[in-house]
């Protein structure tokens, strides 16, 4: 009897592991930065490069850091979703313009709309590295104390926005 049950059990265990492996997204690498203080930055503002924005100026607010670039194809895909979010005036959206050229970035925003309260320029990708950015677009949700609470890798879909980001933002805004 064991002779028949054992291979069956082995098969089931293997099938479970393989099914788990197939359903995981290999691009989704858990970020070690969750629940840690968002790394500091002080970067020039895209619209007014003589001014800078630093992380500390955002303390006390719930804000999103959306990493984007004009050369990034899938940023185009999520862009309308951020435009819609911006219309709701729910949260401060900071754009981290990652390894891009200012003229291209400005053109991109004037063509597709600008959902960002402020876009800052990270031309060398150093701030991106501090945030563990490895694939644009990426979106971080940061709470009032300046702690990263969530990271989304890849383009945000309508359902990600509705079921994940917006509820989380509301929850974080309710925190003292």
């Amino acid at each position: 009897m064991l002779k028949y049950i054992l291979p069956l059990l082995l098969f089931i265990v293997m099938a479970i592991f393989l099914a788990m492996g197939l359903s995981l997204n290999p691009r989704d690498i858990p970020s070690p930065l969750i629940n840690k203080a968002a790394p500091d930055f002080s970067l020039p503002i895209l619209a007014e490069p003589e001014k800078t924005l630093s992380k500390n100026e955002l303390l006390g607010k719930v804000w999103l850091l959306n990493v984007w670039a004009s050369w990034c194809g899938s940023c185009r895909q999520e862009h309308p979703i951020f435009n819609q979010l911006a219309k709701k005036n729910l949260v401060t959206i900071i754009g981290l313009n990652y390894k891009d050229e200012a003229p291209n970035a400005k053109q991109w925003l004037s063509q597709l709309g600008n959902p960002y309260n402020v876009s800052i320029m990270d031309q060398e990708g150093r701030t991106g590295m501090d945030y563990g950015v490895y694939g644009v677009p990426e979106t971080f949700v940061i709470d009032k104390k300046g702690v990263i609470r969530y990271k989304h890798t890849g383009p945000v879909s309508v359902s990600d926005m509705q079921t994940l980001l917006i509820p989380l933002i509301s929850q974080l805004k309710a925190e003292i």
Partner: protein, 155 residues
């Protein structure tokens, strides 16, 4: 045909050229550390390549970061920590042994032990089934053999 093949090989090899930029080191030990580190850090864009092999933009930036930190006199451990603080243990080809990575490290050993155990149990069973085990003696056959031998002696 040969020209075609040479061309294809040349085109395929461009990737290899592009990944290497010239780095100047005053200290040969630092250069060694650089080579060790870039061969141990995973490029997260093309996940099955090290940053030494990869031509991705991120890999270039990470190589630059490793180089700069070595120039500042940072140790290999400090640089590896810098990477795992930002990208997690996955960034190292040789991840540290801890609770989270336990299955990764011990899994193969466990499977090897299961395999060995199965092999031992199986071969033991096989031997017993074939009657090759010296402890198992067939009384009836022994009597028959003895009888036959005695018969032979009498002849």
């Amino acid at each position: 045909m040969l020209v075609f093949r040479t061309l294809v090989l040349l085109i395929l090899s461009f990737n290899c050229f592009a990944a290497v930029e010239y780095r100047k080191f005053s200290d040969p030990q630092q250069e060694q550390s650089y080579k060790t580190l870039i061969a141990e850090i995973r490029c997260l864009v093309c996940q099955n390549q090290t940053i030494a092999d990869s031509n991705a933009d991120l890999a270039k930036d990470l190589r630059r970061q490793v180089y700069e930190m070595l120039q500042e006199g940072k140790s290999q451990v400090e640089i590896a920590d810098f990477m795992t603080d930002r990208y997690g243990d996955f960034v190292l080809y040789n991840p540290p042994f801890k609770a989270k990575t336990g299955l990764l490290w011990l899994g193969p050993v466990v499977f090897l032990l299961i395999g060995l155990l199965t092999l031992i149990l199986y071969s033991r069973k096989k031997r017993r089934d074939n009657g090759l085990d010296s402890n198992v003696v067939d009384k009836e056959k022994q009597v028959k053999v003895k009888a036959l031998l005695e018969e032979g002696e009498q002849l």
